[in-house]
Symmetry: C2
Subunit: 144 residues, 2 copies
DNA sequence: CAATAATTGAAATTGATTATCATGTTCTCT
DNA sequence: AGAGAACATGATAATCAATTTCAATTATTG
């Protein structure tokens, strides 16, 4: 699935930026990753397939991916490290987070989104994006 | 409204910790603050009424307030600094955030909460807490 | 009031992220 | 293809928020 790499390259060309081996490496590995990944983790993962790419470049590329609308940064409570995920999966999904074991489940609920729109309108807002996190105990932690 | 100070003192006594002038100062100023405040901002505010209280102590006291269930820490996207708010207002309210001017409006929507419970149950979770943020443009930024 | 244990503030430390800078690469134009 | 200009890279240093350390101080308890 090189469509996203193509999207990135189009964005770069558009901005007068350059297509490099490192950017492609980081982007490729990132797009092959499901769920959330931190810059540090991505750096390690990239290093396995494409050694010699610096952590700094990983940070910089993730920033570009955000600007290009291909990645999304999230910050979970109490977590000092930011995590990234692909923008397409980031869109319209929310998180259930177990406060004991840290397990994170992603879900979608169109009805909630409809209500969000309504609330926003009531306050004169137009919604572009949202983030919802439910904190609680997962079934295994509750019975344990 | 010294009830909360009393709550804090009860918590401290319970844990074998001490009631100090500094803790009371930080707590008092924090409880008199509406909305969100960062540790740094709170430090400045405290320093005006009670000079000589260190930033470290503000951080430590906020941590205690969290443990005592009297404060809640939040982390908004893209914001490196965590912010705190009183637990009573933190409970069951959500945020509308303008992506241009940064304005934050708080709201409640019981229906959304009901749906959250249902979704969680579907995944075997019991909800203890939640966080929801809607990002968009406020009315003035949209027309500007 | 004395002994004990917790607290304080300043400074040092950590961990994540960003800036700097000399060197290397890509793109554009011919 | 080649040269020049502009951008990118990676190592290191710097920054920023938050935490830890530690010697000196203070609250509690008996």
């Amino acid at each position: 699935m090189n469509k996203k790499i193509a999207d990135l390259n189009r964005y770069l060309a558009d901005k007068g930026l350059k297509i490099t081996r490192q950017r492609e490496a980081v982007a490729q590995v990132f797009f092959d990753t499901d769920g959330h990944i931190s810059a540090e983790e991505l750096y390690i993962k990239v290093s396995r397939s494409y050694p010699g790419v610096g952590l700094t470049t990983v940070y910089r590329t993730l920033k570009l991916l955000k600007e290009a609308g291909l990645a999304k940064e999230r910050r979970f409570a109490e977590d000092s490290q930011g995590v990234f995920e692909k923008e397409d999966t980031a869109r319209h999904h929310d998180h259930l987070i177990c406060t004991r074991c840290g397990k994170i489940i992603e879900f979608k609920e169109p009805l909630i989104e409809k209500l969000q729109e309504e609330v926003a309108q009531k306050h004169g807002f137009s919604v572009e994006d949202h983030k919802m996190e439910l904190y609680g105990l997962c079934s295994s932690c509750r019975t344990a």
